[in-house]
Symmetry: C2
Subunit: 573 residues, 2 copies
């Protein structure tokens, strides 16, 4: 659809009460009140042997509609709707059906399928007269997306769950198949509970509340982001929390503490939890840089381990890189990557490849000897190293993901299907696309969640973060995924993600640093380029308030006074 | 003491394990291990009729020492200490005494006494041989400060509570009598529970944990900040949560919801809770600007209420100022200030006075008529208005606090004892001091906690916050309270505070935006100008980790890897 049509749609939605996020590709709403019947139910039509995760999603949808207690963000809240709602029709049923007669796969299977095979579209109709609503899709993954949209149509006031915008007709599908969030669990550790809460927020199903008090009662509501990719930067030079079978010494010696680990069982649980919510977990073992921690268990494989001054040997402390010219190290790494990738269901696995420092190898006697013996340069050795690890991935049925340097800086001979994450700058996207690779936007100048909180390195009284300033939700919202790209280059864009590197984060501020900001790119990569900040803000407020209701500590973007009065706190109002 | 000596002291402490925050004025430590005996107790010596809050503080100190489980932030944690601790002497007793024979007042009485009368110093001795430790002070407030210091000497490992730096000799007293934190509860509302948790963190007594889960078990530890002033910006144009007897319509119509209020009982509870922790609560009703919300109950008193474009009539939406030329409004305001100030025990009360916009009065017909009738200008009317409200405060036994504009912009005839909060820029301090007023540092260029998260006003895709960039802990730590002041001007500096305006904050990110950053100025105003960032950082890490242990979500300032290795992650390491 064209950008002009998208703007028209946005305008329509803002003038109504319904605040969907991300914006569907096509929506028409009316102005009739409609309330959920006390006997409301969701029926499967023509779906035999429904998978358990679909039945769970339906059950959760009913729970959420019954338990969601989000008051509309208008002056007077639901009081202004009460009279119309009292007289309205009641919705008694949502009928859910698949538009194909083939084999019914589970949401979880579809979520981790190859990215080009996923089907996430759906159509949803809610009549205003109380006759049955219908949800149709070509996949259970599409039904899941539609169920989360359906949950988001309703508000609460005085015991009633209602809308004032019936009827609805929604036809929806994502612009981009990759819509992600990256979390680094090495700089600081995050318990599995925090990761699961983040996955819940990404998919916007009911969150398991882990805090409760008389002051902040647990109320469960539902919102929709439909992020479908969790990029898990699970280990790095600072700590190695991932237990990898066959390589247990890495976490035994490299985790921050014996309890700061992700066991294979925990990983399996997280992967399954994500998949049932339509989310693919893409893990990363960064190589050959960002690997100092491996030296604690296998010092023979690491060059310039904790060598100082670290500024000479790494982009951040501690220094340490895999000895890429050592045959033993190449074999070790390929085996490690193979074993680690086997812990995850995703077709994707990232071998990293960012920030390889030549100086580390230059000053490492063993590496110099190995290079001399083999007649290789660091660059040719790096090429062979990457080919070996990617071959191991390929044999294991996986597609490699790497950071942009592997294409732009090192000209590694990558397989054609390799996916490139562009992080240094959005201006690097063009060159990656010109090289013909599929790519994911992850640019620090738009999508990094950790910028702007000052220098984390010590001894720098006035330092700013390297990627200053803070990337506001507005900044990521106006990101254009195909800026400066030709039509054929644009087809290489799989989507994008916001990223949290955790030098200055931990479980304490995970929610507040991520939400609702990460919803910003969720809309860009679902709906297409974001457009008007002022028109988006009321819907984004609702995302935040819904998240708060269920225990995700999304922050306020404005005073509540402004949130109740769309547009009134605009700079130009 | 001189800055040279302070540096020496800091160096000593960094080389030992003990990480006190703020830095005491004088400390000597040894290198002997000493463990707390299972029968450890705290004895009062020569204090008859000990006040209940002192007994409570002693009881909490014992609880905290028994329950604190902070492992030392070194590689290997307490394992490196185990052998020395096994062989060490045991400390069995702390003897607490007052160094005067006069009437024993409670901590709570002393905390809210006139600022010039407060005595907060103490001396603490902990021998290394297991003989009794002693804590002496001239006031119960000083004993309270000493008890919190005593709690902070101990670490935990394998069932033992211990130090490896005995013996200790500490003589301590604050450089400045005012060490504060400001919270705005109008832009967004904060339940009393959040305020109490903040007061706990300020004083660093045991926090009531409101979150618990198997993942984040509640462990109680103690740290020391010794902030003693909570500046409560309780109402503003956006909402009026304070219930004021005789003016109940203000909160009935101006609070965000019927439950988003502070009742007189809640205020009394918060004030008592603070006082028992050595904290004075200084409330503020900002006048004559920042008062739009009053129009909901008393429209006759407000000029330019919600008038647009707001940019013409206010510094942020909504516009609205008290009709300062109306006799009825002056009387109303004086009565409101008197009634509100009576809810608080503090000798201080702030009538605000910032950001008065002439344009609001210029375009307000009633105000123009009133000015014409009385022959006043806006400036002379403002002077009479302020004199009337301050007279009401004075009669009520209170000392007025105002923002800097009342002196620098409007030349109001203030009483000599008025305290001026300098917020716009630290460069304005000199002029306030030259005018001869006592002042509190609250400068946006060093001490604002809310800067750097982007423009909160809508419709500004690339806007930054007005006080960009983010004020790092390093920035506030290097703040010099007497920069450019003469010796006599320096004597007018009561101290300072960090401030959280809450356009983009709420209960969700209160802890993470405030802590541990606000500890930064706590040390500056207790110990004197901060000095070396690199040497302070290990102690500040400990503040954060202790706070985490007790459920205050202070954020990580570095990866844990760095926190365990002081100096190694310095920019120049």
């Amino acid at each position: 659809m064209t950008r002009g049509i998208l703007f028209l749609v946005v305008t329509l939605v803002v003038s109504s009460a319904t605040a969907l996020w991300p914006q569907p590709q096509s929506i028409s709403t009316g102005s009739k009140a409609l309330k959920i019947s006390p006997s409301f139910h969701i029926t499967l039509s023509g779906i035999k042997n429904a998978p358990k995760d679909l039945l769970d999603a339906i059950s959760k949808t009913k729970d959420n509609i019954a338990n969601d207690k989000l008051e509309r963000l208008v002056v007077g809240r639901g009081a202004v709707d009460a009279e119309a709602v009292a007289k309205s029709a009641e919705l008694n049923e949502l009928v859910v059906s698949l538009e194909h007669d083939g084999k019914v796969r589970s949401i979880s299977e579809e979520a981790v399928d190859a990215i080009e095979n996923r089907v996430e579209g759906y159509s949803l109709t809610v009549p205003e007269d109380g006759s049955a609503a219908t949800l149709k899709a070509n996949s259970t993954l599409g039904l899941y997306r539609g169920l989360t949209t359906f949950q988001q149509l309703w508000y609460f006031w005085d015991g009633r769950v209602y809308s004032v915008d019936a009827p609805f007709q929604i036809r929806d599908s994502p612009k981009y198949p990759y819509r992600g969030l990256m979390l680094d669990t090495s700089r600081n550790y995050f318990p599995a509970e925090d990761i699961k809460r983040t996955l819940d927020a990404m998919s916007l199903v009911k969150v398991r509340t882990i805090c409760s008090s008389p002051v902040l009662p647990s109320v469960h509501v539902s919102v929709l982001f439909q992020l479908n990719s969790f990029h898990w930067h699970v280990v790095d030079s600072q700590s190695f929390p991932l237990q990898v079978p066959g390589f247990m010494e890495l976490s035994e010696k490299g985790a921050y503490s014996p309890s700061s680990v992700y066991t294979p069982e925990v990983v399996k649980d997280i992967v399954a939890y994500a998949a049932a919510r339509g989310i693919d977990v893409i893990a990363e073992i960064d190589t050959p840089g960002h690997t100092a921690v491996i030296a604690k268990a296998f010092p023979e494989h690491i060059a310039c381990n904790e060598k100082t001054p670290w500024t000479t040997y790494a982009n951040e402390p501690p220094a340490g890189q895999l000895r890429l010219a050592s045959d033993a190290t190449v074999k070790f790494t390929a085996n490690l990557i193979e074993a680690a990738s086997s812990l995850f269901q995703s077709k994707f696995f990232s071998t990293g490849g960012d920030e390889v420092k030549q100086s580390c190898y230059r000053d490492d006697e063993e590496t110099q000897q190995q290079l001399n013996a083999s007649g290789k340069t660091v660059e040719t050795a790096l090429n062979d190293f990457m080919k070996a690890t990617h071959e191991a991935l390929h044999k294991n049925g996986k597609t490699a993901v790497v950071w942009q340097e592997m294409v732009l800086e090192h000209k590694i001979e990558l397989r054609n299907d390799t996916v490139i994450f562009v992080w240094i700058s959005s201006t690097d996207v063009k060159a990656v696309a010109q090289a013909g690779f599929r790519l994911v936007h992850a640019a620090s100048d738009y999508l990094y969640l950790d910028c702007g909180a000052g220098e984390w390195l010590g001894n720098d009284p006035t330092g700013n973060s390297w990627c200053d300033p803070f990337k506001t939700w507005q900044r990521s919202y106006i990101f254009d995924p195909t800026a400066n790209l030709t039509e054929s280059e644009s087809k290489l864009v799989l989507g994008g993600q916001q990223l949290l590197w955790t030098e200055q984060s931990g479980p304490q501020n995970l929610d507040s640093i991520v939400w609702p900001r990460a919803a910003s790119s969720a809309e860009v990569f679902w709906s297409g380029i974001g457009g008007n900040i002022s028109q988006a803000l009321p819907r984004l407020h609702e995302v935040g308030y819904r998240l708060n209701q269920r225990g995700v500590k999304a922050i306020n973007l404005q005073p509540l006074w402004c949130a109740l009065r769309p547009g009134v706190c605009d700079l130009t109002a």
